[in-house]
Structures are given as C-alpha cells and as structure tokens.
Amino acid sequence: MFAISGEEWEVISLSLKVSGVAIGLTLPIAFALAWILARVRFPGKVLLDALVHLPLVLPPVVTGWLLLLAFGNNGPAGRWLAEWFGITFMFRWTGAALAAAVMALPLMVRAMRISIEAVDRRLEDAARTLGASPTRTFFSITLPLAIPGLLAGAVLGFARSIGEFGATITFVSNIPGETRTLPLAIYGALQVPGSEAVVTRLSIIAVALSLLALVASELLARRAGHGRGGHVI
C-alpha cells in the first residue's frame, strides 16, 4: 500500500510547488493586509475586511468560477496580466497557485491580524524616540513581535492550500502534471468504486506534508519565542 508510484510523486511535488509558491508569495501581501486592518482607520474598512473573507464564505466552486471570469484568458484581469507581464493562468500550475493563494488568504490575514493587534504600541513609540522611522519601526519591532501570528498564518494557509480542491478544479481543471494537485487526485480516485486504498494513501501523504509544515512552524515559533512573554519593565 505504501509504494508510491511515479505518477503520485508527480502529484506530490506539484502540490508542494503550488502551495509553496502560493503561500510564499502571499505572505507579504497577507501581512500588509493584516496590518492595514489592524492599524489603519479608513472609510470602507469593513468592505476590505469582507472582501478578504469572501473566499471563505463562498462555496469554493463559486470562487473558482469568479477566478475563471476574472483571470481566464478572456477575463479582464487575465487579459491584462497576459499582455503586460506575460503571465497566464488557464490550465497552468500558476492558476492552481492563484486559486490556492486566494483560498488561503483569509486564514492568513486573520491569524496575522490577531498577532499585530497584540503588539504593544508603547514599544513602537520607544523605537520612534530612538530614531527609527515608521517603516523601520515596522520591520524591527512590529513584524518580529508578530512572528507567532505570521507563522501560524503561514501554516494555516499552507494546510489550506494543500487541501484546496473546489476552486482549483473549477478554475484550471484537472491536468496531470500541471494542475492535478493531491486533492484533485484524491477526488478523482473517490469517483471510482473500490478505490479506497488509493484515497487513503494519498490522504495520508497530504496529512504528512502539512504535519511537516506544522512541526517546522512550531520549531520556528519556539526559536522566535525565546525573548517573548517577559515583562517589559
């Protein structure tokens, strides 16, 4: 049961590539959004907040469909990106990564936001009096103090993207070697009677992958946490 076929290796490495790229590229965007939502006051903030939550609330198939409308080769965003940056998504792993990123975004933003809101502003004030500009303060104080949320967000997002199915298959369909990630392979297997063994094996692999991410993040959090939790005075 645990002999992994060449085809399955392909699925696994594709899943890792898609999720890795999706989360890696989304991390800074998610953090920026979290910071804005935690710290900046502006009209329409609730709308931005709702927009970020959108992929969570809608059935994934609808999100996939919206992605198709916007980022398909005939969609406005898709056409624009193809024209200016030569990026296309349709039927490509880039599309799977986009879907994974969009689905993971709300989880990442929330986790980070909680952590940013817990950062003691008096420490940022102290940094400013010591000559740090707001940007510097952000990178040297706010960001490192929010690392627990950053890591938690990354893990949540990674796990979510490893499991992402509905939006991906609707947006970029299921193309072996391009967009067939683990969940798509699992789903395919589930459609055939008597395929429980394959489903089980692939599911265990998916779980193992995110378990690795989980453990890695716990270790990083422990390292980053050394100085934390103490008294400020």
Partner: protein
C-alpha cells in the same frame, strides 16, 4: 408533520431540471412531493452504503448502481435503466470551427494549442464515455495530452462557454440549454457504450409512494418530461 412526506430520492446532479419537473407534475396529481437530493453519483452511492434512510437511487452510470447492487442495498427487481443520452462535441457560440465527427477526424489539429474540455475521463461517467468514443474513433492518442479534465459536465461546459477551451465534450442535454455554445457534431451512438441512467428502489425504502413515483417516471407522461429535455428514453 400533518402533511405527508414524499419519498426521498437520491439522484445524479445532471438530472436536476428534468427530475424536478417530473416531481412537480407528480405532486400536482395529489401525491406528496418527493424530496430529491441531487449530488454526484459517487457521493450518493456511498451514502446508500452508509445506511442512508432513502427510498430511491438514480445513478448517472451503471457502475455505481452495480456497486450498491453487489452489496444488496437495492431491490433488484425494481432496477431499470430508463434514460439515455448522447454525447456531443461543442465549441463556443462564436467559433467558426467546422468538424465532421468520423474515424480519425482531425480533432487534435483543430485544437491547436487549446484544450478539449470534458469531464474527467478516468473517473466521471461523462468523461469515460467521451474517452471511449474518442478511442473508438482513433483520435484519443492524439488529444489525450490536451484534455482539460473538469469536475463534471457542467464545469466542462463553463470552460467552453467562456471560450477558455475551443472544444468540449458534453451530454446533448447540457449543450442544448446553453446559448453560449454551439454543437459541432454528435458522436455516433455506436462509438461508445450505451449511456444509461439506472434507477432502483433501496432496500431500506419505507415510503409507500416510492413505487408509485418510480412507475410515474417510467410512464409515458414521465418519459415525455425527460424527452423534452433531450434525454432518450427506453
């Protein structure tokens, strides 16, 4: 409570419109309206397997019906394959592509760099029929690297509707309701195994109306409803 509850029917999602209409007509004849749950045949079959308290199962292919039959979960005598469908090749409505479906027809060339949208040829029934048709026509090896495997027929249809795929293979019933696609050609019935939708009462069935509804679907009136939607009835 006071109103009697109709039989619980588990039905393949692709039957949604036709079966809903049939249920309405049946209900208008002073029967309790059947409660119908539409989902993928695979999900429904697994629910039957898990002891779902339902009355009737209508599958989109014989394989899942065989699966539950083997486990003795249906009343074998009530099993009947009463609907059929055809496979068509479609293109976006604006497409000017002309293709005549025949042995060795140049589908791969017509696709060019584009992809052929169809339900997953390895797992979803519509995809399996499509694969069989293309294989028997001798074009499968040319196009198998160009397939966009969709979750189901409707998703494949959407890809063609949006013009993301230049061609697609769907059921005739799906193609006829979309104004944004054009049927390029119909696959010969002989090119693929007979498409059939089997129906059976479940062993756990308790509803006194289940058999009545089953008969209604098989009646001339019932068949007519499906025929109007493009199904072939047997």
């Amino acid at each position: 409570q006071g109103q009697q509850r109709g039989p619980l029917v588990l039905a393949a999602a692709s039957l949604q419109e036709a079966l809903d209409e049939a249920a309405n007509v049946w209900a208008a004849q002073r029967h309790p309206r059947p409660v119908i749950s539409f989902a993928a045949s695979s999900a429904l079959a697994r629910q039957v397997e898990a002891g779902a308290p339902a009355d009737m199962f209508i599958s989109a292919d014989e394989e899942w019906m065989d699966h539950v039959a083997k486990k003795r979960l249906i009343r074998a005598k009530t099993r009947v394959s009463f609907l059929s469908n055809r496979l068509v090749l479609i293109a976006p409505a604006a497409s000017k592509a002309q293709l005549k479906i025949a042995r060795g027809f140049p589908l791969a060339r017509a696709l060019g760099k584009g992809r052929l949208a169809m339900a997953d040829p390895d797992s979803v029934p519509a995809g399996r029929y499509g694969k069989a048709a293309l294989t028997s026509l001798g074009v499968w090896t040319g196009v198998q690297g160009k397939i966009a495997r969709a979750e189901n027929v409707r998703a494949a249809l959407a890809l063609v509707e949006r013009g993301e795929a230049p061609f697609g293979i769907v059921y005739a019933t799906d193609a006829r309701v979309s104004s944004r696609v054009r049927v390029v050609g119909t696959f010969p019935a002989s090119s693929h195994p007979l498409i059939s939708y089997p129906m059976a009462l479940l062993r756990t069935s308790t509803s006194p109306d289940a058999e009545g509804f089953r008969r209604f679907l098989l009646s001339r009136e019932g068949r007519a409803i499906f025929a109007r939607r493009g199904f072939t009835t047997r």
